[in-house]
Amino acid sequence: MSNLTEIEPFGKGFVEAMGPELILFAGMLLLIIVPNLGQGTFRIPGTQVRLPWLLGGKRFEFTSDPRLPAWLATLTLGGAFFNVLYAFSQGLDRVAIVSESGKQLLLVNGFSRIFELIFFGALALAAFSSMNRLPVNGVGSKVSETELFNNRRQADFYILMVTCALGMSVVALAQDLFVLFIGLELASFSTYVLVAFLKESKVGVESGMKYFIVGSVASGVGLYGLSMLYLWAGSLQFDVLATAFATTSSTEMALPLIGIGFVLVGFGFKVSAAPFHFAAPDAYAGATSPVAGVLATASKAMGMIGLVRMLLIVAAPETGDGSAIWLACLGVLAAVTMTWGNLAALGSDNPKRMLAYSSVAHAGYMLAALTAVGAWNWDAAVSGDAGAAAVAVLTAVIFHLLVLVAFKLGAFLVLSILESEGDVSRLSSLGGLAKREPLLAVSMFIFMISLAGVPPMAGFLSKLLVIMGIVRVAVGDMGAELADGGIYALGDMHWVWWLALLMVLNSAISMFYYLRVGVVMFFDEPEEGREGPLPTGWQVRAAIFACVLTTLLIGVAGDAVLRLCEMAAQSLNYDW
């Protein structure tokens, strides 16, 4: 682990450390300016002299191209993505941005970098594939698609995507709960607008409003918890909170526990954990598919960062009696979330709602993994293996979030193609896809079985890793004890093992609705009015095939990615 470099904002080395964020910022400015460039002039008052200043007026042909904002956003997000990749290839430095009084505000390390990779990758794919299809379906819209396509709202959409990325990367970097919340809100507000972007359609506005109201209530509760934590510890720095938490006696735990609980509500909404998931299906169904894909991948990863930081750093598992204080609570939450998500997905005929509920189920799997980390010191016998086990579980969570971008977003992108020819609120709209465009149907099938966790897809590897992590924690050092003549029964394993069992059973349940999509695509006839060829657009197809290739490649040979995630997990500021 390289040494920590501390720099002040705009100090030496700031540009290198904040490279991706600065690229995003610059891209955002360009997105505001460039589409407005035109033949506008400025008359010097009192004279007839007109100076060309390029803003406003009749736009140039180049700047009035509706695809321009999309290209700018894609390049910006892609540039940020490759900047992070470059940073990885150069070997990571740990850089902290500190305030004047020496408090850490942002920390650049493997953990934050890999989440930036997730955010920028997902948003870049979404922006790239929205290029030739905004606005979508226009349910109930009076305006023709061409008219909508040619207006200046294009720019707004992509500016919001970039601000969203900016907010998310602040969340990944934040070392202070307050900074984290600012990033969270920046990203949230962008997504609220993105979800409601289809103002012509009733569904879009309704889902946007719903998402906004529920989201802001969750944020409000989180901020209330934040204030309680501040009242209790006098600071919102993660390390200060962690120290305070470790030294507070159990009789005085009430205030911090309530505070942490409230903060977790805010993050729970983001990862769409039950019972805070109610807005998610509506939001996904109303948003355009690429945006829904972003909600299901990047936004979820953002919430997961908050959960990891709060649960594993602030309320870290104790070394004394073993497990974390939140262990049972989170275990129940995980069990409820995965089961509820899967059962609800079984009954939904709308493919986007189905994917939303499957997203809830996946949140449950990750919560189960976090529960296992909380159990890491549950018995003295385990202590030898514990650090490695906790890293393994966290690696699994990060790996899962990373590969989710490929097959979850990919599934939404396939829906997005169908969406631009009309409503996709019924499963039957996927009917006959195999006849209409075989490669798309095969791609969708691959995404579905990857979500279900069938080998050799990436989704299988990630699910395997999560299960392996949980089982490893549950078994602990029993293998070595057995060799020394110890006798163990099933009940001697930590109870998180049952979460692993519940998880595999849930995978089996989920098979029903994932497979149903495959059956509809390969078996059923196309719906009326959908017999013709699909809408064109090479960008979205390129994005889909990139997702398919990633799903297959990581599934078959995921070792390098796995090591990357392991490094990220190790670098989480936590002394294992």
């Binding site: 293996d385 490695a388 393994a392 690696t395 075989p438 490669l439 095969v442 079985i449 966790g453 069938v454 080998p455 050799p456 299988f460 395997l464 890793l465 299960i467 392996m468 089982v471 490893r472 549950a474 078994v475 029993m478 293998g479 070595a480 057995l482 060799a483 110890g486 006798i487 163990y488 029964a489 099933l490 093992w497 692993a500 069992l501 595999v504 059973l505 995978s507 089996a508 098979m511 029903f512 497979l515 149903r516 495959g518 059956v519 390969f522 078996f523 040979a557 995921g558 070792d559 796995l562 090591r563 392991e566």
Partner: protein, 546 residues
């Protein structure tokens, strides 16, 4: 030695079929019809290459490998490549007397299946999927790494799902999903068992090929070796409780695949709806994956638990045997009857395993092999019946002997082989099972009533087969009165490719019935070794075994 397994036997069929499918998917509708013939030919040639390789292996053409006397946990043509190092996952392949007959059987059935379903519709996509199915099945049998084993185990579901969904009968939508979900559910429980087993290994005791992140190994030979060392010391590997739990979890996956009553309900649906080719591979090889898995993992690793669950397995086996046969009596659908007869025959395998005798196990292994040749023929006959008479109902066509002699003869031959006529392959396995069971009952002082079930089934099996033959082949029938389902078409008989496939299958049924030692010797050697090394130390007061 050169790696004759990874690329030639596993990679080649999978990759070539994927390339063919990718190529076909870009072709237009009319182009696809034109491509059907060359692609069928290519798939046939590819599968014959596979058959050539495995046959060459048997005749020691690719290196001096003696299949007889292969020891327990000793593998030929073995190769290991690093796959996912941090978790200890390797691409490990190898063959022994357990897996080699299954691999040969798979490569044998592939060309036969292609020939028997020569005129299947949408051939340009059908034949590559059959080829991919073969590659995935071979992968299951050669895998010597738990991860790799599981990957191929699940991979077989995907081509079979599409075979049923796209070429199946009227109710194929339901059947394909039921098949997938049912077996997937059991497999994920098995997966959890495998992972729990993985972490119960002692990282302190040096494990070969362990993962850098986990310190445990997915390597089957390594795990087997550690288990053997522990078990033969008189200890229970991993301790009594854990061993029982893991044994049960693994067995659940394998029993569903086998399938044994009460987990058999997916099989009749899948079979009835599956196309002929799908049924042939499903019954011929895919069911055997369950029995193969039992030998490879739970039996090899947890012999104490096997002894503990012996009675339960014996009961499940008996129930499968008897129940499957009795249900056959009530079937009016020809294919469903054959499907239930498969359940009954899988009961024979389970009883053979439960005897814990080398001969019982050899009977199970030979049953896997013999049933793998006979049941495809049964389904090929059913397929021809359906194809030519547009109905699956027993009695839809009567008096076949008079106007369709080829179908009638094939049916009679296959039915006789399946009910265990001497000098045909199925008889050998059943006889061995009887001897082993009788010996076991005698040596352990079990009640003689355990023999009642199998004896009864002999009669019942003969009854349902003969009765169905009477209703289809002999009774009634008149060229002037063809069945209503033909709608006045001329009464057909087998097409030439179908005839060829029937002849090949019949020839090998006779071959392995008359000269069973070709395969049986290596199987019995292997089971004898595993019995001496694994079972004798734990049986204590038991003397010998046959």
């Amino acid at each position: 030695m050169q790696d004759w397994i990874s690329l030639p036997l596993v990679g080649f069929p999978l990759i070539s079929s994927l390339l063919l499918l990718a190529f076909v998917s870009k072709a237009s509708e009319s182009m696809r019809n034109k491509l059907s013939d060359p692609i069928r030919m290519a798939c046939l040639v590819f599968s014959l290459v596979l058959l050539g390789i495995t046959t060459g292996m048997f005749f020691q053409y690719f290196g001096d490998v003696s299949w007889e006397g292969i020891g327990f946990n000793q593998y030929e043509y073995s190769h290991r490549y690093t796959w996912i190092e941090s978790l200890g996952i390797h691409w490990t392949v190898g063959l022994d007397a357990l897996s080699f007959p299954m691999v040969w059987l798979t490569t044998f059935l592939l060309p036969v299946t292609i020939i028997a379903t020569w005129n299947e519709k949408n051939g340009a996509t059908y034949f590559p999927i059959v080829l991919a199915m073969g590659g995935a099945l071979i992968g299951v049998f050669v895998a010597l790494d738990l991860f790799m084993f599981y990957v191929f185990w699940e991979l077989t579901l995907i081509p079979m799902f599409f075979l049923i969904l796209m070429w199946g009968g009227a109710d194929r939508k339901y059947a394909s999903q039921k098949f997938f979900i049912y077996t997937f559910t059991a497999s994920v429980v098995m997966l959890l068992g495998l992972i729990t087993l993985y972490f119960f290994q002692d990282p302190g005791n040096p494990l070969d090929y362990a993962g850098s992140m986990t310190g445990r190994s997915f390597d089957i030979p390594t795990i087997t070796q550690h288990a053997l060392a522990e078990n033969s010391n008189g200890n229970w590997y991993l301790g009594a409780n854990i061993q029982k739990v893991l044994f049960a979890m693994l067995m659940l996956g394998f029993l569903v695949k086998l399938p044994a009553v009460p987990f058999h309900t997916w099989l009749p649906d899948a079979h009835v709806q599956a196309p002929t080719g799908g049924s042939m591979l499903l019954a011929g090889v895919m069911l055997k994956m369950g029995a193969y898995g039992m030998f490879r993992l739970p039996i090899s690793l947890f012999p104490h638990a096997l002894e503990y669950f012996q009675l339960a397995l014996m009961i499940i086996g008996m129930v499968s045997l008897v129940w499957g046969a009795i249900v056959c009596l009530g079937q009016t659908n020809l294919k469903k009857m054959v499907a239930y007869s498969s359940v009954s025959h899988m009961g024979v395998i389970l009883i053979g395993i439960a005897t814990m005798q080398p001969m019982g196990w050899a009977a199970a292994l030979f049953m896997m092999f013999a049933h793998g040749i006979i049941s495809p023929m049964l389904f090929a006959v059913c397929g021809a019946f359906k194809h030519h008479y547009h109905s699956m109902e027993i009695g839809a066509m009567r008096g076949m002997a008079k106007h369709s002699p080829w179908i009638a003869t094939s049916m009679m031959f296959a039915w006789m082989a399946s009910l265990g006529l001497p000098l045909l392959a199925g008889f050998v396995a059943e006889l061995m099972m009887f001897i082993a069971l009788w010996y076991f009952i005698d040596a352990n002082g079990w009640s003689v009533f355990w023999m009642v079930g199998p004896a009864l089934v002999l009669a019942v099996t003969a009854a349902y087969y003969l009765w169905s033959m009477q209703r289809t082949i002999f009774e009634g029938g008149d060229e002037t009165q063809p069945p209503a389902s033909l709608h006045g078409e001329p009464v057909p008989d087998l097409a030439s490719p179908e005839k060829l496939a029937m002849l090949i299958l019949a020839a090998f049924t006779i071959l392995f019935g008359v000269m069973p030692w070709i395969g049986l010797d290596m199987m019995h050697d292997w089971t004898k070794q595993i019995f001496d090394g694994l079972i004798l130390p734990i049986l204590g007061d038991f003397n010998g075994g046959i």
